[in-house]
Symmetry: C2
Subunit: 189 residues, 2 copies
């Protein structure tokens, strides 16, 4: 049942991207290798032909998820023209993003699990955070570099916290208020 090199590489990609979605949707700890591989259409044994451990997959899935978000940030910034900064914020703090956790920001979806993750995963998450900050910094063209960076860090932290809190809340109105309050204050910065 050996597959061609191209097929095997495709399988590997499918495992990583399916994992990136499942980890964001159900959490890292709560996502098992058996159900994950079965979602990809394979059995569990094949997993270890591609990865040394679940830990390695977690790190790669985080990297891929964060790269996807960096791309979204770039697109939102470009689409926003002069105010790319607010365009990124409006997109991040939207109800659409909040309700699409599976494909959204991994820092908000898995934040407290990432704190307890392995070193490689934490390094990948930090790198992703820095990359997102860098896109935001550039979208603040009129400011000095250091001031813009610091403001971008501030906005990213506020957005991650706001999205997480909005998802915890059962009351729809309260959940929307958090997003809007943070959006409003970031627009004044």
């Amino acid at each position: 049942m050996r597959k061609s090199k191209a097929d095997a590489a495709l399988t590997r990609q499918q495992i990583v991207s399916t994992a990136a979605n499942e980890f964001r949707l159900n959490g890292i700890t709560a996502t098992g290798i058996v159900p994950l591989m079965s979602k990809v259409g394979l059995t569990q044994g094949g997993f270890y032909k591609h990865f040394e451990s679940k830990d390695q997959l977690v790190a790669e899935a985080c990297t891929v998820a964060l790269e996807g978000l960096v791309t979204k940030f770039r697109l939102a910034s470009a689409a926003g023209g002069e105010d790319g900064f607010m365009s990124i914020i409006d997109s991040y703090l939207s109800e659409a993003h909040r309700d699409n956790q599976e494909q959204g920001c991994p820092l908000a979806a898995m934040g407290s699990e990432l704190v307890r993750a392995g070193e490689v995963t934490r390094q990948a998450s930090s790198q992703g955070f820095n990359d997102l900050v860098e896109v935001m910094r550039k979208s603040l063209g009129r400011l000095g570099e250091e001031q813009a960076r610091s403001q971008a860090v501030f906005a990213m932290a506020a957005m991650v916290g706001a999205l997480t809190m909005s998802r915890i809340m059962l009351d729809e109105e309260a959940a929307s208020t958090v997003l809007n309050d943070v959006k409003h204050h970031l627009s004044l910065v």
Copy 2:
């Protein structure tokens, strides 16, 4: 081996407060009933004389942890005199708080797990968030009520996100920078 009512009530309290610490330190999913009860000095069977399920314990532990944080906020606000708002923020965004996850903010320590928790736990978390916001709002005496509330929500979200990100980062300098950047911008609001 029956214990007196007073002893039993004490045992129950000990289970809840030990759980509140373990959940914050290791996460909810990663904390088992057997090790938890053994940490309290009991065996697992007794657990179900006090709680219907692990879910019920999670909800109570979150409530207790958040009540403790509300108290800390009140103390920090009072200690800060005129600027109780910044006093709360300085305390929350301190390296001491970041490195003492076991007794720190449950929203930062378990945020992404709370999103997937049961309704009772999510309700308790939302209530706790609102209580924290309320303490912060009152510490902004000079502002109008609605403006102060919205500003308190913004600050809380930014703090939860900043603490989480600072904990993920392996690089000590970068981790401190996040805390300081957010502290700085919140002082300008």
